[in-house]
Protein backbone atom coordinates (compact mmCIF):
# COMPACT_ATOMS: atom_id res chain seq x y z
CA UNK A 1 0.00 0.00 0.00
CA UNK A 2 1.38 3.38 -0.94
CA UNK A 3 2.15 5.88 1.78
CA UNK A 4 -0.47 8.25 0.42
CA UNK A 5 -3.18 5.63 0.31
CA UNK A 6 -2.27 4.58 3.80
CA UNK A 7 -2.85 8.09 5.04
CA UNK A 8 -6.04 8.88 3.08
CA UNK A 9 -8.24 6.17 4.59
CA UNK A 10 -8.54 5.77 8.33
CA UNK A 11 -8.01 2.04 8.15
CA UNK A 12 -8.16 1.70 11.93
CA UNK A 13 -11.69 3.08 12.01
CA UNK A 14 -12.68 0.62 9.33
CA UNK A 15 -10.99 -2.30 11.10
CA UNK A 16 -12.72 -1.36 14.33
CA UNK A 17 -16.12 -2.05 12.80
CA UNK A 18 -15.37 -5.56 11.46
CA UNK A 19 -16.86 -7.37 14.41
CA UNK A 20 -19.95 -5.14 14.53
CA UNK A 21 -20.53 -5.84 10.85
CA UNK A 22 -20.30 -9.57 11.29
CA UNK A 23 -22.27 -9.83 14.51
CA UNK A 24 -25.32 -7.94 13.32
CA UNK A 25 -28.28 -10.03 12.12
CA UNK A 26 -30.13 -10.53 9.89
CA UNK A 27 -28.69 -7.49 8.07
CA UNK A 28 -24.95 -7.06 8.38
CA UNK A 29 -23.94 -3.43 8.57
CA UNK A 30 -21.34 -1.09 10.00
CA UNK A 31 -21.12 2.66 10.48
CA UNK A 32 -17.69 4.24 10.27
CA UNK A 33 -16.93 7.71 11.61
CA UNK A 34 -14.07 9.76 10.14
CA UNK A 35 -13.55 7.39 7.24
CA UNK A 36 -11.13 9.68 5.43
CA UNK A 37 -8.19 11.82 6.38
CA UNK A 38 -9.51 15.29 7.23
CA UNK A 39 -7.52 17.22 4.58
CA UNK A 40 -8.38 14.79 1.83
CA UNK A 41 -12.03 14.79 2.89
CA UNK A 42 -12.05 18.60 2.66
CA UNK A 43 -10.84 18.40 -0.94
CA UNK A 44 -13.62 15.96 -1.82
CA UNK A 45 -16.12 18.09 0.06
CA UNK A 46 -15.08 21.27 -1.79
CA UNK A 47 -15.21 19.61 -5.21
CA UNK A 48 -18.33 17.52 -4.71
CA UNK A 49 -20.26 17.97 -8.01
CA UNK A 50 -22.79 20.82 -7.93
CA UNK A 51 -26.42 19.94 -8.56
CA UNK A 52 -27.23 20.94 -12.14
CA UNK A 53 -28.95 19.61 -15.26
CA UNK A 54 -26.35 16.89 -15.69
CA UNK A 55 -27.78 15.02 -12.69
CA UNK A 56 -30.53 12.42 -13.17
CA UNK A 57 -33.62 13.10 -11.12
CA UNK A 58 -34.94 9.97 -9.46
CA UNK A 59 -38.66 10.48 -9.14
CA UNK A 60 -41.37 7.92 -8.50
CA UNK A 61 -40.09 4.65 -9.84
CA UNK A 62 -40.59 1.22 -8.39
CA UNK A 63 -40.18 2.28 -4.77
CA UNK A 64 -41.14 5.95 -4.77
CA UNK A 65 -38.47 8.57 -4.23
CA UNK A 66 -37.24 12.05 -4.95
CA UNK A 67 -33.49 12.41 -5.18
CA UNK A 68 -30.69 13.01 -7.68
CA UNK A 69 -27.88 10.88 -9.04
CA UNK A 70 -24.81 11.39 -11.13
CA UNK A 71 -22.70 8.48 -12.21
CA UNK A 72 -19.03 7.76 -12.64
CA UNK A 73 -17.94 6.77 -16.16
CA UNK A 74 -19.84 3.56 -16.92
CA UNK A 75 -20.48 1.11 -19.72
CA UNK A 76 -23.63 0.64 -21.80
CA UNK A 77 -26.50 -0.90 -19.86
CA UNK A 78 -27.52 -3.43 -22.51
CA UNK A 79 -29.42 -6.65 -21.89
CA UNK A 80 -28.69 -10.20 -20.91
CA UNK A 81 -29.41 -12.87 -23.51
CA UNK A 82 -32.49 -14.01 -21.56
CA UNK A 83 -34.01 -10.58 -22.20
CA UNK A 84 -33.55 -9.21 -18.70
CA UNK A 85 -32.13 -5.73 -18.31
CA UNK A 86 -28.53 -5.30 -17.31
CA UNK A 87 -27.38 -2.37 -15.20
CA UNK A 88 -24.47 -0.17 -16.21
CA UNK A 89 -21.15 -1.17 -14.69
CA UNK A 90 -18.56 1.42 -13.69
CA UNK A 91 -15.50 1.80 -15.91
CA UNK A 92 -12.46 1.82 -13.66
CA UNK A 93 -10.79 4.78 -15.31
CA UNK A 94 -10.38 8.51 -14.66
CA UNK A 95 -13.44 10.60 -15.33
CA UNK A 96 -12.49 14.12 -16.41
CA UNK A 97 -15.86 15.52 -15.35
CA UNK A 98 -14.75 15.26 -11.74
CA UNK A 99 -11.92 16.82 -9.74
CA UNK A 100 -8.47 15.41 -9.31
CA UNK A 101 -9.33 14.51 -5.73
CA UNK A 102 -12.38 12.57 -6.77
CA UNK A 103 -10.35 10.71 -9.37
CA UNK A 104 -7.81 9.93 -6.69
CA UNK A 105 -10.52 8.74 -4.32
CA UNK A 106 -11.99 6.46 -6.97
CA UNK A 107 -8.58 4.91 -7.55
CA UNK A 108 -8.54 4.06 -3.86
CA UNK A 109 -12.04 2.60 -3.96
CA UNK A 110 -11.17 0.18 -6.75
CA UNK A 111 -7.65 -0.45 -5.46
CA UNK A 112 -6.52 -3.93 -4.51
CA UNK A 113 -5.84 -2.68 -0.97
CA UNK A 114 -9.29 -1.22 -0.33
CA UNK A 115 -11.08 -4.17 -1.90
CA UNK A 116 -8.93 -6.60 0.12
CA UNK A 117 -9.98 -4.79 3.26
CA UNK A 118 -13.63 -5.28 2.35
CA UNK A 119 -12.93 -8.93 1.56
CA UNK A 120 -11.33 -9.30 4.97
CA UNK A 121 -14.38 -7.73 6.57
CA UNK A 122 -16.97 -9.80 4.71
CA UNK A 123 -15.11 -13.00 3.97
CA UNK A 124 -16.01 -12.65 0.27
CA UNK A 125 -13.26 -13.30 -2.21
CA UNK A 126 -12.73 -11.59 -5.55
CA UNK A 127 -14.67 -8.46 -4.59
CA UNK A 128 -14.60 -5.73 -7.18
CA UNK A 129 -16.18 -2.30 -7.62
CA UNK A 130 -19.33 -2.56 -9.75
CA UNK A 131 -21.32 0.66 -9.44
CA UNK A 132 -20.64 4.19 -8.23
CA UNK A 133 -22.88 7.21 -8.16
CA UNK A 134 -23.06 10.53 -6.43
CA UNK A 135 -26.34 10.80 -4.54
CA UNK A 136 -27.90 14.10 -3.67
CA UNK A 137 -31.11 15.08 -1.95
CA UNK A 138 -32.57 18.32 -0.70
CA UNK A 139 -35.74 19.52 1.05
CA UNK A 140 -38.70 17.19 0.30
CA UNK A 141 -36.34 14.48 -0.95
CA UNK A 142 -37.02 10.94 0.25
CA UNK A 143 -36.72 7.32 -0.73
CA UNK A 144 -39.31 4.79 0.30
CA UNK A 145 -38.22 1.71 2.14
CA UNK A 146 -37.07 -0.97 -0.27
CA UNK A 147 -34.92 -4.09 -0.58
CA UNK A 148 -32.61 -4.67 -3.56
CA UNK A 149 -31.64 -8.27 -2.83
CA UNK A 150 -29.29 -8.21 -5.83
CA UNK A 151 -27.32 -10.99 -4.14
CA UNK A 152 -26.13 -12.17 -0.74
CA UNK A 153 -22.61 -11.01 -1.58
CA UNK A 154 -23.36 -7.50 -2.80
CA UNK A 155 -21.88 -4.90 -0.52
CA UNK A 156 -23.22 -1.34 -0.57
CA UNK A 157 -21.00 1.42 0.74
CA UNK A 158 -22.44 4.87 1.39
CA UNK A 159 -20.09 7.74 2.14
CA UNK A 160 -21.51 11.07 3.27
CA UNK A 161 -20.30 14.61 2.59
CA UNK A 162 -22.71 16.85 4.52
CA UNK A 163 -21.44 19.04 7.30
CA UNK A 164 -23.28 20.20 10.42
CA UNK A 165 -25.87 17.48 10.21
CA UNK A 166 -28.20 17.83 13.15
CA UNK A 167 -28.69 14.66 15.14
CA UNK A 168 -32.10 13.17 14.42
CA UNK A 169 -32.57 14.97 11.14
CA UNK A 170 -33.79 12.82 8.23
CA UNK A 171 -31.55 12.35 5.18
CA UNK A 172 -29.16 9.53 6.06
CA UNK A 173 -29.86 6.08 4.70
CA UNK A 174 -31.88 4.27 7.36
CA UNK A 175 -32.03 0.53 7.82
CA UNK A 176 -35.34 -0.91 8.95
CA UNK A 177 -36.56 -4.30 10.10
CA UNK A 178 -39.05 -4.54 7.22
CA UNK A 179 -40.37 -2.64 4.24
CA UNK A 180 -43.49 -1.48 6.03
CA UNK A 181 -41.92 1.76 7.21
CA UNK A 182 -43.22 4.92 5.56
CA UNK A 183 -40.26 7.13 4.70
CA UNK A 184 -42.56 10.12 4.15
CA UNK A 185 -44.08 9.73 7.59
CA UNK A 186 -47.61 9.84 6.24
CA UNK A 187 -48.83 6.31 6.93
CA UNK A 188 -48.51 4.02 9.93
CA UNK A 189 -46.55 0.80 9.48
CA UNK A 190 -45.33 -2.20 11.43
CA UNK A 191 -41.65 -1.86 10.59
CA UNK A 192 -39.25 0.29 12.55
CA UNK A 193 -35.87 1.84 11.93
CA UNK A 194 -32.95 -0.15 13.31
CA UNK A 195 -30.30 2.40 12.37
CA UNK A 196 -30.08 5.82 10.80
CA UNK A 197 -26.81 7.76 10.52
CA UNK A 198 -26.82 10.76 12.84
CA UNK A 199 -23.65 12.27 11.40
CA UNK A 200 -23.21 12.71 7.66
CA UNK A 201 -19.85 14.45 7.81
CA UNK A 202 -17.08 12.11 6.64
CA UNK A 203 -18.93 8.97 7.67
CA UNK A 204 -19.75 5.74 5.92
CA UNK A 205 -22.49 3.16 6.17
CA UNK A 206 -21.55 -0.27 4.85
CA UNK A 207 -24.42 -2.68 4.30
CA UNK A 208 -24.57 -6.19 2.99
CA UNK A 209 -27.42 -6.63 0.54
CA UNK A 210 -29.77 -9.57 0.83
CA UNK A 211 -33.42 -10.43 1.38
CA UNK A 212 -33.69 -8.55 4.69
CA UNK A 213 -31.80 -5.38 3.88
CA UNK A 214 -34.67 -2.92 3.98
CA UNK A 215 -33.48 0.67 3.67
CA UNK A 216 -34.55 4.11 2.52
CA UNK A 217 -34.35 7.80 3.34
CA UNK A 218 -36.84 9.68 5.47
CA UNK A 219 -38.29 12.80 3.90
CA UNK A 220 -36.00 15.78 4.35
CA UNK A 221 -37.93 18.62 5.92
CA UNK A 222 -35.22 21.25 6.30
CA UNK A 223 -33.46 23.37 3.72
CA UNK A 224 -30.32 21.23 3.67
CA UNK A 225 -28.19 19.35 1.17
CA UNK A 226 -27.68 15.64 1.71
CA UNK A 227 -24.57 14.82 -0.28
CA UNK A 228 -23.09 11.39 -0.58
CA UNK A 229 -21.95 8.59 -2.80
CA UNK A 230 -23.13 5.05 -3.20
CA UNK A 231 -20.60 2.40 -4.19
CA UNK A 232 -21.34 -1.25 -4.80
CA UNK A 233 -18.88 -4.10 -4.55
CA UNK A 234 -19.45 -7.67 -5.61
CA UNK A 235 -17.39 -10.78 -6.39
CA UNK A 236 -16.21 -10.82 -9.99
CA UNK A 237 -14.04 -13.02 -12.14
CA UNK A 238 -13.52 -13.10 -15.88
CA UNK A 239 -14.92 -16.63 -16.21
CA UNK A 240 -18.25 -16.23 -14.38
CA UNK A 241 -18.68 -12.45 -14.51
CA UNK A 242 -20.35 -10.56 -11.67
CA UNK A 243 -21.77 -12.66 -8.85
CA UNK A 244 -25.32 -11.26 -9.04
CA UNK A 245 -25.48 -11.84 -12.80
CA UNK A 246 -25.78 -15.57 -12.03
CA UNK A 247 -23.76 -16.58 -15.06
CA UNK A 248 -26.02 -14.76 -17.51
CA UNK A 249 -24.28 -13.63 -20.66
CA UNK A 250 -24.44 -10.07 -21.87
CA UNK A 251 -26.07 -9.60 -25.25
CA UNK A 252 -23.64 -7.83 -27.53
CA UNK A 253 -25.25 -5.37 -29.97
CA UNK A 254 -26.04 -7.05 -33.27
CA UNK A 255 -24.42 -6.13 -36.54
CA UNK A 256 -27.28 -6.19 -39.02
Amino acid sequence: MSKKMKSIVNWKNLDGEFSNFNNRKPTKWAFIEELLDKDFYEKLYETYPKLDDSWDIQEGGQYGRLSYRKFWKRDEARYFSDGSEREHVVIQEDDSRYSESWNEFMKILWSKEFVSKLSEMTGFEQLNLKHMNFMYAKKNGFQNTHIHNASDKTLIVFVYFSKNWKKGDPGGTFLSDGIDFDAKGEKPGDSKIIFEPHNLDNTSLIVLDGPYTAHGMRKITKDVERRGIQVTFEPFNTKDGWYSDNGKTVLEPLEL
Binding site: A77, Y79, S81, G83, L251, P253, L254, L256
Partner: protein
Protein backbone atom coordinates in the same frame (compact mmCIF):
# COMPACT_ATOMS: atom_id res chain seq x y z
CA UNK B 1 -43.42 -15.81 -34.74
CA UNK B 2 -44.31 -14.72 -31.20
CA UNK B 3 -47.71 -13.31 -30.23
CA UNK B 4 -47.86 -10.45 -27.78
CA UNK B 5 -50.86 -8.63 -26.39
CA UNK B 6 -51.30 -5.49 -24.41
CA UNK B 7 -54.53 -3.83 -23.27
CA UNK B 8 -55.23 -0.68 -21.36
CA UNK B 9 -58.22 1.43 -20.46
CA UNK B 10 -58.45 4.72 -22.31
CA UNK B 11 -58.61 7.58 -19.86
CA UNK B 12 -58.99 10.25 -22.54
CA UNK B 13 -61.22 11.11 -25.46
CA UNK B 14 -61.18 8.16 -27.88
CA UNK B 15 -61.28 10.25 -31.05
CA UNK B 16 -58.42 12.47 -29.90
CA UNK B 17 -56.40 9.37 -29.04
CA UNK B 18 -57.07 7.91 -32.47
CA UNK B 19 -56.10 11.18 -34.07
CA UNK B 20 -52.71 11.16 -32.28
CA UNK B 21 -52.09 7.58 -33.43
CA UNK B 22 -52.72 8.46 -37.05
CA UNK B 23 -50.76 11.71 -37.03
CA UNK B 24 -47.70 9.66 -37.94
CA UNK B 25 -45.03 12.31 -38.26
CA UNK B 26 -45.80 13.77 -34.84
CA UNK B 27 -45.85 10.37 -33.14
CA UNK B 28 -42.12 10.74 -32.53
CA UNK B 29 -42.96 13.19 -29.73
CA UNK B 30 -44.51 10.39 -27.71
CA UNK B 31 -41.94 7.74 -28.46
CA UNK B 32 -38.65 7.09 -26.68
CA UNK B 33 -35.69 8.92 -28.18
CA UNK B 34 -34.60 5.69 -29.87
CA UNK B 35 -37.26 6.34 -32.50
CA UNK B 36 -35.54 9.18 -34.27
CA UNK B 37 -37.68 9.99 -37.27
CA UNK B 38 -40.88 9.04 -39.08
CA UNK B 39 -41.27 9.93 -42.73
CA UNK B 40 -44.38 9.44 -44.84
CA UNK B 41 -43.46 7.71 -48.11
CA UNK B 42 -46.90 7.14 -49.55
CA UNK B 43 -50.40 8.15 -48.57
CA UNK B 44 -53.67 7.10 -50.21
CA UNK B 45 -56.87 7.62 -48.31
CA UNK B 46 -56.67 5.14 -45.39
CA UNK B 47 -53.50 3.49 -46.56
CA UNK B 48 -50.08 4.90 -45.64
CA UNK B 49 -46.51 3.71 -45.91
CA UNK B 50 -44.06 5.28 -43.49
CA UNK B 51 -40.36 4.90 -42.89
CA UNK B 52 -39.13 4.95 -39.32
CA UNK B 53 -35.53 5.52 -38.33
CA UNK B 54 -34.48 3.78 -35.15
CA UNK B 55 -31.31 3.69 -33.09
CA UNK B 56 -31.26 1.00 -30.38
CA UNK B 57 -27.63 1.35 -29.43
CA UNK B 58 -27.71 -1.30 -26.71
CA UNK B 59 -29.00 -4.07 -28.97
CA UNK B 60 -28.24 -3.12 -32.58
CA UNK B 61 -24.94 -1.51 -33.50
CA UNK B 62 -26.08 0.93 -36.14
CA UNK B 63 -29.07 3.13 -36.77
CA UNK B 64 -31.53 1.41 -39.10
CA UNK B 65 -34.71 2.22 -41.00
CA UNK B 66 -37.75 0.13 -41.76
CA UNK B 67 -40.88 0.68 -43.78
CA UNK B 68 -44.30 0.13 -42.25
CA UNK B 69 -47.64 -0.25 -44.00
CA UNK B 70 -50.53 1.23 -42.04
CA UNK B 71 -54.20 0.63 -42.86
CA UNK B 72 -56.83 2.53 -40.96
CA UNK B 73 -59.57 -0.07 -41.25
CA UNK B 74 -62.16 1.91 -39.30
CA UNK B 75 -62.42 4.65 -36.70
CA UNK B 76 -61.53 1.98 -34.13
CA UNK B 77 -59.00 -0.21 -35.82
CA UNK B 78 -55.53 0.17 -37.31
CA UNK B 79 -53.50 -2.57 -38.99
CA UNK B 80 -49.72 -2.33 -39.24
CA UNK B 81 -47.17 -4.45 -41.05
CA UNK B 82 -43.40 -4.11 -41.21
CA UNK B 83 -42.35 -4.39 -44.83
CA UNK B 84 -38.59 -4.84 -44.60
CA UNK B 85 -35.64 -5.28 -42.28
CA UNK B 86 -35.07 -7.78 -39.48
CA UNK B 87 -38.69 -7.67 -38.37
CA UNK B 88 -40.20 -8.00 -41.86
CA UNK B 89 -43.62 -9.61 -41.68
CA UNK B 90 -44.36 -8.43 -38.12
CA UNK B 91 -48.02 -7.46 -37.89
CA UNK B 92 -49.89 -5.45 -35.32
CA UNK B 93 -53.53 -4.61 -34.75
CA UNK B 94 -54.61 -1.65 -32.64
CA UNK B 95 -58.28 -1.79 -31.80
CA UNK B 96 -60.44 0.28 -29.52
CA UNK B 97 -63.47 -1.45 -28.09
CA UNK B 98 -66.16 -0.80 -25.50
CA UNK B 99 -65.84 -3.42 -22.78
CA UNK B 100 -68.23 -3.36 -19.84
CA UNK B 101 -68.72 0.40 -20.18
CA UNK B 102 -64.98 0.97 -20.37
CA UNK B 103 -63.15 2.02 -23.49
CA UNK B 104 -60.27 -0.37 -23.94
CA UNK B 105 -57.40 -0.27 -26.39
CA UNK B 106 -55.89 -3.61 -27.44
CA UNK B 107 -52.55 -3.85 -29.18
CA UNK B 108 -51.97 -7.36 -30.52
CA UNK B 109 -48.73 -8.11 -32.29
CA UNK B 110 -47.27 -11.09 -34.10
CA UNK B 111 -43.55 -10.47 -33.94
CA UNK B 112 -41.48 -12.04 -36.69
CA UNK B 113 -37.69 -11.72 -36.63
CA UNK B 114 -35.06 -12.87 -39.08
CA UNK B 115 -32.83 -15.74 -37.98
CA UNK B 116 -30.00 -13.34 -37.24
CA UNK B 117 -32.20 -11.24 -34.96
CA UNK B 118 -34.09 -14.11 -33.30
CA UNK B 119 -31.93 -13.65 -30.20
CA UNK B 120 -33.94 -10.46 -29.57
CA UNK B 121 -37.26 -12.28 -28.96
CA UNK B 122 -36.82 -12.42 -25.14
CA UNK B 123 -36.01 -8.71 -24.98
CA UNK B 124 -38.99 -7.72 -27.09
CA UNK B 125 -41.20 -9.98 -25.01
CA UNK B 126 -40.01 -8.38 -21.77
CA UNK B 127 -40.12 -4.81 -23.05
CA UNK B 128 -43.40 -4.96 -25.00
CA UNK B 129 -45.83 -4.05 -22.23
CA UNK B 130 -43.49 -1.53 -20.58
CA UNK B 131 -42.86 0.29 -23.85
CA UNK B 132 -46.55 0.50 -24.73
CA UNK B 133 -47.48 1.56 -21.20
CA UNK B 134 -45.09 4.51 -21.37
CA UNK B 135 -46.17 5.62 -24.84
CA UNK B 136 -49.91 5.30 -24.20
CA UNK B 137 -49.64 7.14 -20.86
CA UNK B 138 -47.75 9.96 -22.50
CA UNK B 139 -50.39 10.32 -25.21
CA UNK B 140 -53.27 10.26 -22.73
CA UNK B 141 -51.56 12.72 -20.39
CA UNK B 142 -50.94 15.09 -23.26
CA UNK B 143 -54.57 14.91 -24.40
CA UNK B 144 -55.88 15.49 -20.87
CA UNK B 145 -53.63 18.48 -20.23
Amino acid sequence: MVKMNYSFELSCDKDKFFHVLTDYQNLVEYMPRQLQKIEILEKQDRHTIIESTIFLRSIIKKQFSQRLKIDVESENKILLEILDGVAKGTQSTISIILDDEKTVCNIDTNVKLSLKAAILYPIIKKEYAGFLTKVSRKIMENINE
